[in-house]
Symmetry: C2
Subunit: 329 residues, 2 copies
């Protein structure tokens, strides 16, 4: 599927929901770019659920985020249950503006919806030449260390560093595997490469289906990821004044009123861009020197992106048919 056809089709469908033209264009682009970059789970494959949530009134296509408090380089915005990717994009854009004026800028966003592919807002900062750091809370889908019940979110964290020779962008959830990844492994009957959670007997396992059955996903680093996930939730809820994970509906089709934080830092405010790039390039070069096959964050993304633009974006035929059907919303 040519990227433009994917983008155009998603935009056309969004226009039927009443979304304004420029917003539908950006919203569709963010979905299409996720698929283009190999994150179909938060691209095309997530689009039908997004439409259902618009249909149910959980996502308000007309809502625009509004500033509710500010203190120089720090602002608080209310997402007013608007489309999560548009709210997140606007928040990182505002953090970038603040960073251009103050060196660093931070926007805390409450009452928003799932941001889809979090990495997008890291790429957004890096494409502007800025460092981007952002995270979101989620519904409770991981048991904290010491418990068997999901009471913390997997709270994805994104860190992006700009670089002429390909931005370096980390986009990771605090669970060792996402719910979507477990489903894929289970469907293929394939073992996880490392332990991903607990089976019914309470043992660590690589059996994705067994983990899906218990709901006991493993946080990265056991107690460490459990603690980090909690801190990201506390920061997001406290700074935005919005909901913490324990207040968010447990059903993914009803997950809304999320809290997020967007930080941008302008390294060019401290030193010439060339100096910063030299530091980054040398560290990346060293990472690849020596034994093994080491990859840096976003290296694979760029390879996938190039292949998608050359050969077309892979699309799931069934989902594509569903999205293209008339009256899909």
């Amino acid at each position: 599927m040519p990227f433009d056809e994917l983008h155009d089709t998603l935009r056309r469908v969004l226009l039927t929901t009443g979304m304004a033209r420029d917003r539908a264009d950006l919203c569709a682009r963010l979905f299409a770019e996720a698929s283009r970059d190999g994150v179909a789970s938060h691209g095309l494959n997530r689009f039908p659920r997004f439409l259902r949530m618009i249909g149910r009134g959980i996502v308000d296509v007309h809502a625009v985020a509004a500033k509710t408090a500010s203190a120089g380089a720090l602002e608080r915005w209310d997402g007013r249950q608007g489309p999560g990717n548009l709210n997140a994009h606007a928040s990182m854009a505002r953090a970038i503006e603040l960073a251009r004026g103050h060196g660093i800028g931070c926007v805390a966003l409450s009452n928003t919806n799932h941001w889809m592919r979090g990495g997008a807002y890291g790429w957004q900062a890096a494409e502007g030449g800025l460092i981007g750091i952002c995270w979101t809370n989620t519904l409770a889908n991981v048991p904290p260390w010491g418990s068997t019940e999901p009471r913390i979110g997997n709270n994805p964290l994104v860190i992006a560093v700009p670089r002429g020779d390909g931005h370096v962008v980390l986009d990771m959830a605090m669970s060792q595997f996402s719910v979507g990844a477990l489903t894929s492994y289970a469907a293929r009957g394939e073992a996880l490469p490392v332990d991903g959670g607990y089976d019914a007997a309470g043992s660590l396992t690589r059996d994705a289906a067994a983990i899906e059955a218990t709901g006991r996903l493993l946080p990265i680093g056991f107690w460490k990821g459990s603690g980090l996930s909690l801190m990201l939730d506390l920061l997001a809820a406290a700074l935005s004044g919005g909901r913490a994970t324990h207040e968010i509906a447990a059903d993914p089709e009803l997950e809304t009123a999320l809290s997020q934080v967007f930080i941008a830092i302008d390294p060019s405010s401290l030193s010439p861009q060339a100096g910063t790039e030299r530091v980054i390039d040398a560290a990346i070069a060293h990472l690849h020197a020596g034994d093994g096959n080491v990859r840096h964050p976003a290296q694979r993304t760029l390879e996938t992106r190039e292949r998608s633009l050359r050969e077309g974006v892979p699309v799931d035929a069934a989902i594509w048919a569903e999205v293209k059907a008339p009256g899909v919303t």
Copy 2:
């Protein structure tokens, strides 16, 4: 050992190095507080090495960090190889000042020494009513995912959130276990609670001695912690203009010229403190509700601190004798 006796003794020894009185007081307090809070590895137990590094001229007791660039809420400081805990404390103090003026403040510090117990600077922010986020790079002590050679640091990350009923402070390195923890388990002949790295056959193991022998410590979450550690190093080096992990001496006794980042955020600039506390308290209460025995970050620290202040700070007799010996430096 009464806390005051520990503090006084360390201060007296520091004065013999020529360190100024007020600096010796703070430097000794930070070491003593680490032991008080159960982190003797970066408290008293680390003090003899600190003295050796002063003796070798790696740590300059007279050096005071100097600002080299600034852009509103973002500043760059040169640590001039001064004592790492004093530089870190001054940097967080400056980030707090910036946050009180701009809502958020960030100090990037180059050319500093080991900050000892990173959590100290999180507690420092929280005690001022601010959120603190800071991290450091380190010498290369962890193989990146896909390699068997240590080429990334374990780069501790600290996140602190203030709370009337006990601050919430996360202080975690990016390796599943610290080098010090491996040594302790190996000395006791005790198995690690979870896999901590690889043995000589390249298999994941809970055998601490086997991991010490290969030097193949596991990053938290496998590829995830590997990526996160790299990003923290890139940010620290790029923002401070200082060294990245690959440029830092591999010998712990020579480890210097580290790069660090200190961010403070003032939540009271956005909403009354009571509102923020309510959000945090409710999330922590929910964490402890339900099954299992869940602990939140710093819960155990506060218990240890109270016991130390009540019953005395546990000290290692051999290290205590070494520190108290005349002419120890």
